[in-house]
């Protein structure tokens, strides 16, 4: 029986009686009596990974786990080993161990990724407690590294994306986005021009080992607004492996003839543990089913450096730096000058300025964004019970947007903003003996936003500075089958805006605002039965109006409207309750059901006024920021069924309804209800061939019917169905793993328009696309 791959077949019958463990040479003359043992469980469900294989690279031999996921490798020497854990349908996991004594290694595999929630993952870190959340893991991120962050998040139930054409997307969590959603990159709240619907988060998801979304109401440990939810982008710790490891990823996609290259290297050197990663993306014009989407190309160049230094068992420091640069073309045919243009551009068979050929060139209208993030962290562990964490984050964001302009001014940005952001926090954690813990902290944030006068245009949002100080405390307690959490947070914000008057003579005016926000949350988790878990959380969260809501002044070209801020806006006040249920039927059927209800008092929205503003470019409708009372209610449902180990059926459904209860009308830009289903088949590993699977999926997006005719320029587009398919296969090379995969989207080349894509007025959405991926991990 050559090779290690067949061993586990035999140990089905017995466990450990047949430990095909062959140490022909190493055992002789050394003290080779050490043992590694542990348990393999699925991260999503906690179910033991029966008959998973455990393979020791250095000795080229392995064992199989028993039916309870337990494994034991005897007769190891005092040496270092790379241990590889495999199970059908999961990406292999390699752990490095420098063995000096008998060691227990418990491993969590990603078998039911679709079921992973942060409550399970982070129990040890107590980060999100009883908040309902979902996540995406490293292997999936790398598999679709040609996508944006928001497009990746979109695969989770309850999460959608608001888009501007093919290249710009922003996450929407349970109907809320933009200023109401905080994105934490490495624990630092992403800072930039987040107010714009067409301003995508400046984050390369490839740096992350997992992405998660907290849908619950009270993620109170974070700066920024958690009123609509929190997105976490988290790279994993580098680990202790003294050898160089990494991966290289290349994806080609047919739509837009796009190339994506990622590379990552990491090593635990004596001086420090380090990881570097980089991404380059070059896309040309994307295509709709029947025409080119002229000027929708994209370039992106990102890099990141991560350093970790452990000075003692009680003190370690971490440094993270990332740079993000992007240039994105905006569909030429969606650029309009006034309302007449808009009416003409709407509802055309083919957008204006559609070229009959493909091009990689990016012309105006376009966006250029650069983002730098530096994080420094120092962790002090005093004893088993107490620890202190100090963190600093600095960000610089430069955004330039170019329009088609007269007199050779197209190369001068029409919008040019620079933002500096400084953040500091001190966290203290205390673990009490009786199973409870306290996490408390103080935070400070400073934002400095400046319009660069190079534009020759009055700025849309003013220059401003904001100072925010906050303190919070979260208490958690775990009892046998129950888990409780209580949190409180207080934020004080001082905003200093410096505006230029819209009437003549231009004068500079200064305005100061102070906002007090407090938030409270409570969460409760209870295991009703061994296979039935109940999760409930409720939160009361305030959000202060942001500078665009207070001071916007000017023409919003994309929608041909004049937007005016409102200096008298008050805090938004939200109460959200989330109830979720996890049910495991005989380890074959898994059901996750989540229902939520959110009430928002003083909900800030753009109100179309009856008035038109006459300008030299014609009359424009006027929109002002206003407040109302709103409710959002919905449900997310996920069912995963595994009749036999190699087959998995998955179904997801999201339902949402948002209403403005004061004016008795629906809320605009609420995601449509949608249904997703997939069938996947995994093939048993061969000697060299691993982790082979094929899958087919379908997604149906319903028409948004909860909208009045007078609330939009066009009625919401019809519902649509998209067919997708994917296949992947890994090959074990000598010291590396090669993975090849294919991913097809919109395979029927369906013509469709999506309600949340702001370019739906002008053009069809994307046609079919096939991505081919090659990945080498070593």
């Amino acid at each position: 029986m050559p090779g290690g791959a067949h061993f586990y077949m035999s140990s089905f019958r017995t466990f450990f009686l047949f430990p095909f463990f062959l140490f022909p040479l190493l055992g002789i003359g050394q003290n080779c009596t050490l043992k590694i043992q542990g348990k393999l469980t699925d991260e999503g469900t906690g179910i033991p990974m029966a008959y998973a294989t455990v393979y020791v690279e250095e000795v080229q031999a392995g064992v199989a786990a028993d039916s309870s996921g337990n494994y034991s490798i005897p007769n190891l020497c005092a040496s270092s080993y790379h241990i590889q854990y495999r199970h059908i349908g999961c990406e292999a996991k390699t752990i490095f161990v420098d063995l000096r004594k008998d060691t227990t290694i418990n491993v969590r595999m990603h078998h039911h990724d679709e079921l992973v929630d942060e409550v399970v993952i982070h129990e040890a870190h107590d980060d999100h407690g009883a908040q309902a959340s979902v996540s995406i893991q490293k292997e999936q991120i790398s598999e679709i590294a040609n996508k944006d962050l928001s497009e990746m998040l979109e695969s989770m139930t309850g999460v959608s994306a608001i888009k501007t054409g093919a290249g710009i997307s922003k996450p929407v969590i349970h109907g809320l986005s933009g200023n109401r959603v905080t994105i934490l990159n490495n624990g630092i709240a992403q800072s930039g021009q987040q107010w714009g619907n067409d301003h995508a988060p400046e984050i390369d998801p490839y740096v992350a080992d997992h992405l998660s979304v907290i849908k619950g109401a009270g993620a109170l440990a974070y700066m920024g607004s958690s009123l609509g939810g929190v997105v976490l982008v988290e790279p994993a710790d580098i680990g202790n492996d003294p050898h160089l490891h990494g991966d290289v990823n290349y994806i080609f996609q047919t739509n837009g003839l796009g190339h994506t290259v990622n590379a990552k290297l990491e090593k635990h050197d004596k001086w420090a543990a380090w990881r570097i990663s980089g991404t380059a993306k070059v896309f040309g014009d994307h295509t709709a089913p029947s025409y080119y989407l002229t000027n929708t190309g994209k370039r992106e160049f990102n890099g990141a450096l991560q350093l970790e230094k452990k000075f003692s068992s009680k003190w370690n420091m971490k440094l993270y730096y990332s740079e993000f640069f992007t240039e994105i073309g905006v569909l030429r045919g969606s650029h309009i000058g006034n309302l007449t243009d808009l009416e003409q551009a709407i509802g055309r068979d083919e957008p204006f300025f559609t070229e009959d050929h493909f091009s990689y060139s990016i012309n105006a209208p376009k966006q250029q964004v650069q983002h730098h993030l530096l994080k420094l962290e120092s962790n002090h562990i005093f004893n088993e019970h107490q620890s202190l964490h100090i963190r600093y984050g600095g960000q610089l964001n430069n955004r330039k947007e170019f329009d088609i302009r007269r007199g050779e001014r197209t190369d001068i940005p029409a919008l040019s903003l620079s933002q500096w952001d400084q953040f500091g926090e001190v966290l203290y954690r205390h673990f009490f003996d009786h199973g409870s813990r306290l996490k408390t902290g103080a935070q400070f944030k400073f934002v400095d936003n400046t319009n660069n006068p190079e534009t020759g245009i009055l700025p849309l949002i003013p220059d401003y500075r904001s100072y925010q100080t906050a303190a919070f405390a979260i208490y958690q307690k775990e009892e046998k089958r129950a888990f409780y959490e209580f949190g409180a947070r207080y934020d004080f914000t001082h905003l200093q805006a410096v505006t230029i008057s819209s009437s003549l003579p231009r004068k500079i005016e200064r305005f100061d605002h102070n906002f007090h926000n407090y938030s409270l949350s409570a969460g409760f988790r209870y295991e009703l039965l061994r296979n039935l878990k109940l999760n409930f959380d409720a939160g009361h969260v305030l959000r202060s109006p942001q500078v665009n809501e207070l001071y916007s002044q000017g023409l919003h070209q994309g929608v041909a409207g004049i937007e005016e801020g409102n200096r008298n806006l008050k805090n938004e006040r939200s109460i959200k309750t989330v109830l979720s249920l996890d049910w495991n039927v005989k380890n074959k059927l898994f059901v996750q059901a989540l229902g939520y209800y959110q009430y928002i008092k003083n909900f800030i929205y753009l109100q179309p006024e009856d008035e038109f503003r006459l300008t030299i470019r014609g009359a424009f409708p006027l929109f002002t920021y206003n407040q109302t009372d709103a409710t959002i209610a919905g449900a997310d449902l996920l069912v995963s069924y595994e009749p036999i180990e190699s087959i998995r059926l998955l179904a997801k459904y999201s339902f949402l309804q948002g209403d403005d209860i004061s004016n008795e009308q629906p809320l605009v830009y609420m995601p449509s209800n949608n249904l997703f289903g997939s069938f996947s088949y995994s093939i048993k590993d061969g000697e060299k061939r691993k982790n082979t699977s094929v899958s087919v999926n379908g997604r149906y997006v319903f028409k948004q019917t909860n909208l009045n005719a007078d609330q939009d320029l066009l009625p919401p587009p019809n519902g649509y169905f998209l067919l997708g398919a994917s296949a992947g296969m890994s090959f074990k090379l000598k010291k590396a793993t090669l993975r090849l995969s294919l991913n097809g989207e919109n395979l029927l080349n369906t013509r469709y328009r999506d309600y949340l894509n702001r370019q739906r007025y002008f053009a069809d959405d994307l046609g079919w696309n096939l991505s081919v991926r090659t990945n080498v991990t070593f």
Binding site: F311, H335, I336, G337, N338, T340, D341, Q344, F352, F353, L376, S378, I390, Y392, G394, I404, R405, R406, G407, R409, W420, Q422, G424, F444, F446, D448, T450, N451, P453, E454, T455, G456, I457, L458, P459, P462, D463, Y464, R465, Y467, Q496, V498, I500, S502, S503, L504, R506, I508, Q553, G554, L555, I562, E564, R613, L614, T615, I616, R617, G618, F620
Partner: protein
């Protein structure tokens, strides 16, 4: 080693202190050299007489105060030659933007639309760009019988001048972006 690392913290601290210690500076008011504040359509009767001036002025740009519009009265059965002047009057002396349009004539075209269907006069472009297509800075306007009508003057940037009807002054297939769209009340008596 440890002490030097602790000094690392001085850096962000210094950054915070230095950036937060004073008020936000006054912003530089951008030089709005591209702004068109004023459109003047001057109609001079052929064979002499007083010129009539239609004027649209919005000094503070989008938003702010409402624009000021001056309409005019024309004589019936008279042929006028029309000239468009675009100004940026926020500059002193006022900048003549129509010169920019003239320089980029191929990328611009004015369109003139009459609301009153019984307008019986004649209207023609009196200029051409490098490709022989009209620009519309210069026009000929024959008034015809007395009536009142609205006249909408539109300036399109990057229109498709070769599309059907566009060079005859039909805006329907022109495309491009609107830089100007103003409407005057015209009385022909």
């Amino acid at each position: 080693m440890k002490n030097t690392l602790k000094l690392l913290w001085a850096l962000p601290l210094f950054a915070i202190i230095s950036l937060t210690s004073c008020d936000k500076n006054d912003p530089e008011i951008p030089n709005e050299e591209e702004l068109i504040t004023t459109l003047i359509y001057t109609l001079t009767p052929e064979g002499g007489g007083n010129a009539v001036e239609f004027r649209f002025t919005d000094l503070d740009g989008d938003g702010g105060d409402a624009p000021v519009i001056t309409n005019g009265t024309l004589a019936a059965n008279t042929t006028y030659s029309g000239v468009i002047t675009l100004l940026n009057e926020t500059e002193t002396p006022a900048e003549v933007i129509s010169e920019e349009v003239e320089e980029e004539a191929e990328e611009h075209q004015f369109f003139y639309q009459f609301s009153n269907q019984s307008f019986s006069g004649g209207f023609d472009y009196a200029d051409a760009d490098g490709n022989g297509n009209p620009v519309g800075l210069l026009t000929t306007f024959a008034t015809g019988t007395p009536l009142t009508t609205m006249l909408t003057i539109t300036l399109r940037h990057e229109p498709n001048k070769t599309a059907s009807g566009v060079s005859d002054g039909d805006i329907t297939n022109a495309g491009g972006e609107t830089d100007i769209e103003v409407t005057f009340d015209v009385t022909i008596q």
